[in-house]
């Protein structure tokens, strides 16, 4: 099994999909010669040419909207929104158009569009380049939402998203791009809507997404030294949500921590906590703990940013609270 970075895994999936299907093309800001602001699409212009690797104007509504129209006309576009903060500019097209064409038409059309974006704190960009807005999108019927945390997952899930007949908003995290991991020799599609038990444990389940999966694993290691056995589960897809796997884990451990980098209040974790309390109520031995960013925009000064964003220590503290330590 080769080891690749998360960045390479994304690129691999894009290239593989473009090789296998002429209908797949990519467009976004600075994705061609520059290879994207995160270097994800480097080299794709050389292989696939400017028709299929399209630099766009700074024009988020048109990027997403043109993707919608091309998808309705039978293509499988993958559009890139450089920072998920800029998703807000294209939200009308995502929420009112992409998510609803199939429904409003009574099933006549499909919108096989993938919207890739990335965000995340940890490098002091300030308040407009590091938000985590996945909860906004999970709230909209008609959209699928993916947020893979490892190279293997990002490669297999991006492929699946591209070939899904629904619009998929595909979140990547800036700090994950250099993370390495093993991937199968051949690209293996990973279905959307399937969680992954990342680490098995007996005392408490941490349900984490994106970078918090890695921070949860760190916390789990420390917890183990303290005699607490932690299971880490990554939903991977936020919509549809694999409730069964999450609930089964919590029924086994009887305690749960839900963790994401986004602001805790009204975050994705609130929904997960609700699912758990409803479906595993009799199994819970402690209140469900939630870990997320504090309720403030992201400050520029590194010390303030670090204070707002949850780290492994925050997860560990939540784990301890569930077992009364």
């Amino acid at each position: 099994m080769p080891e690749v970075t998360y960045r390479e895994a994304v690129r691999d999936a894009l290239a593989a999909a473009m090789r296998s299907d002429d209908g797949v093309f990519i467009m976004g800001e600075d994705i061609a010669e520059m290879g994207g602001s995160m270097g994800v699409t480097q080299g794709l212009l050389d292989e696939f040419g400017a028709e299929r690797v399209r630099n766009t104007p700074i024009s988020e509504m048109a990027i997403v909207g043109a993707g919608i129209g091309a998808a309705m006309a039978g293509m499988r576009p993958v559009v890139e929104i450089m920072y998920e903060d800029f998703l807000t500019l294209s939200l009308e097209q995502i929420v009112n158009q992409a998510a609803k064409h199939r429904y409003m038409s009574g099933g006549q059309v499909t919108v096989p569009l993938t919207i890739r974006t990335q965000g995340g704190a940890g490098w002091s960009p300030g308040a407009q380049h590091a938000q985590q807005l996945e909860a906004w999108l999970v709230h909209v019927p008609g959209l699928k939402v993916a947020y893979p945390s490892t190279p293997e997952d990002v490669r297999g899930m991006l492929w699946t998203s591209i070939y899904d007949d629904n619009p998929v908003v595909f979140f990547e995290h800036r700090l994950l791009y250099p993370v390495k991991g093993q991937v199968p020799d051949e690209l293996e599609p990973i279905p959307l809507g399937k969680a992954r038990v990342v680490r098995e444990g007996a005392d408490v389940t941490v349900i984490a997404i994106g970078p918090l999966v890695h921070r949860a694993l760190e916390a789990a290691k420390q917890a183990e030294a303290e005699g607490i056995s932690v299971e880490v589960v990554d939903p991977r897809t936020l919509q549809p949500l694999d409730e069964d796997t999450l609930v089964a884990s919590v029924k086994k451990t009887n305690r749960a921590v839900v963790a994401h980098e986004a602001v805790t209040r009204m975050g994705f974790g609130a929904e997960v906590a609700s699912v758990l309390q409803y479906k595993a109520f009799d199994y819970l031995d402690a209140p469900i703990e939630r870990v997320g960013a504090k309720f403030a925009p992201l400050a520029f000064a590194p010390v303030m940013e670090q204070f707002v964003v949850p780290d492994a220590g925050d997860v560990l503290a939540a784990i301890r609270r569930t077992v009364g330590k």
């Binding site: 509504m61 043109a66 091309a70 409003m104 038409s105």
Partner: protein, 309 residues
């Protein structure tokens, strides 16, 4: 030309019937009729070829009917019936009929323009001789999607035409209050180096000719075209709109702008000949109404279908 008149009359009678039934409390939601603007829908749609697609606006009935959707299916949709062109999921402002090239009417002003640009891009990438047509009003020329779409379409020379139905009203706000170029929208195209054609939207023949020219230009890959169509909204923004913002003179002038008598005159039709066409139009609409009223209500729980493919 006689077929154009037949179609415009049918649309007129359809819209009048919709107004009547809405006022009678039979139709849910809220509705916008295109009375006075029929020549644009007919002139443009009759110029389109099989395989061309279009996207419409909240004022969608005329486009759908001119696009070839059966009046029964449109009326049934307005009644929220399973027999409707969207099986009751869409309604007046969201009429789709993919088989007839209708990729959807949009209740968000300017919401469909990026999509039409993208469809035109797909046609170009696949070397297909197809064109994607966007209908929108002058009110849409102030929203971001309009500017982003025109820019992208011209930049990439997508197979797209933009049909601006300039009725000089953005709901209740007159053109002069919402745009510095309200009386010459083709200046908007100029800013994007896009070819523009100005045409009198009350003259169906002129609209048809301009649309043929624009479609041919886009189809051949030479780039998008902006059709600047001057028209006249004879009724209110929505059915029941008291139009307090409109002068009495303006409303009384409406008849002078009616495209139907104008075409009738051009064709030199006698009263008998016109009445015969009109009877046909009424009969089509009456049948549509009957069809719609006898339609099937969806099962409430079907609201959970079609959310995902």
């Amino acid at each position: 030309m006689r077929d154009f008149l037949r179609e415009m009359l049918m649309i007129r009678r359809f819209e009048e019937k919709v107004e009547e039934r809405f006022r009678a409390g039979e139709l849910p939601g809220f509705l916008h009729v295109a009375i006075g603007q029929e020549a644009i829908a007919v002139g443009v749609c009759r110029a389109m070829e099989d395989g061309d697609i279009f996207a419409s606006t909240h004022r969608a009935h005329a486009h759908a009917l001119a696009g070839g959707t059966h009046p029964n299916a449109v009326m049934a949709e307005l009644y929220g019936k399973v027999e409707g062109c969207c099986r009751g999921y869409g309604g007046s402002m969201h009429l789709y009929d993919v088989e007839h090239g209708n990729f959807g009417a949009n209740a968000v002003i300017g919401g469909g323009l990026p999509g039409v640009t993208g469809a035109g891009l797909a046609f170009k990438l696949r070397n297909e001789p197809r064109v994607a047509v966007a209908f929108f009003g002058d009110g849409a020329t102030n929203i971001g999607t309009f500017h982003e779409s025109l820019n992208l379409a011209q930049l990439w020379k997508t197979k797209t035409i933009f049909v601006c139905e300039n009725n000089h009203w953005a709901e209740s706000t007159p053109g002069w209050q919402h745009s510095p170029v309200w009386d010459d929208m083709s200046k908007r195209a100029l800013a994007y180096d896009m070819r523009a054609i100005k045409v009198d939207g009350q003259d169906v023949e002129a609209v048809h000719e301009a649309a043929l020219e624009a479609l041919e230009h886009a189809r051949s890959g030479e780039g998008p075209v902006f059709l600047d169509v001057e028209t006249y909204r004879m009724h209110g923004h929505f059915i029941g709109d008291p139009q307090v913002y409109r002068t009495k003179d303006d409303r009384e002038d409406a008849a002078e702008h009616d495209p139907i008598p104008r075409l009738r005159e051009r064709l030199g039709l006698s009263d008998d000949e016109f009445d015969e066409l009109d009877r046909e139009a009424h009969a089509v609409v009456d049948e549509a109404l009957e069809f719609a009223k006898n339609g099937t209500d969806p099962r409430p729980e079907d609201a959970l279908k079609n959310v995902y493919a």
